[in-house]
């Protein structure tokens, strides 16, 4: 079946512009995560959606970052007034959490969007 997809794969923008990154999770997955990975660095948690619950936004680095998940499926990460330090690979992951089942949170990652802010 189809895995997690992200678009665009690459995005080059000018400082100060807004960008939108899209994530299509695996169908039926209830949880969706956004991460940021800078060159040579580990994954930095940004935001987490689980079902219809309020998202956990505790990882968003500033109020220029926002994300939404429509209909419990597709998610969009928006970065307003981009800065050069926003340049990174933005990864999306989804997982299936079964009610009453063992908690594993195995995450399935997309290929990422490489954002370059000039």
């Amino acid at each position: 079946g189809a895995g997690v997809s992200q678009s665009p794969s690459n995005k080059v923008t000018e400082k100060g512009k807004d960008v939108e990154l899209r994530c299509d999770p695996i169908s039926g997955h209830t949880a969706l995560y956004w991460y940021r990975q800078s060159l040579g660095q580990g994954l930095e948690f940004l935001i987490y959606f689980q079902g219809n619950s309020a998202p956990d936004k505790s990882g968003l680095p500033s109020d220029r970052f926002s994300a939404e998940r429509t209909g419990g499926s597709v998610s969009t990460l928006t970065i307003q007034r981009t800065q050069q330090e926003d340049s990174a690979v933005y990864l999306c992951a989804s997982s299936l959490l079964l009610a009453g089942g063992p908690r594993t949170d195995t995450q399935y990652f997309g290929p990422g969007t490489r954002l370059t802010v000039l």
Binding site: G42, F45, G59, L91, R103, T104, D105, Q107, P111
Partner: protein, 110 residues
Amino acid sequence: SQKIEQNSEALNIQEGKTATLTCNYTNYSPAYLQWYRQDPGRGPVFLLLIRENEKEKRKERLKVTFDTTLKQSLFHITASQPADSATYLCALRYGQNFVFGPGTRLSVLP
């Protein structure tokens, strides 16, 4: 806050040898710990999960141990092959979030 350390940024070993990667964490007692593999230009791929009540987990040439007293997990690849060359990440759930280690870049030399 939770912090994860992985033993080294890069590890080079000879083909056929056993690679051992270390993951240490602080300030938390996770219910489980995960290991992922990441190839250049790709997202991480899940490999193994080990729970706090498990000492060891195996999958083909992979073996993971979990010592909750030492707050450490070891990841072993036996009979390593050049195709095992990648970055390996450990991760644990911390509250609602996941915390990933910085990764160890493994190079298996032919």
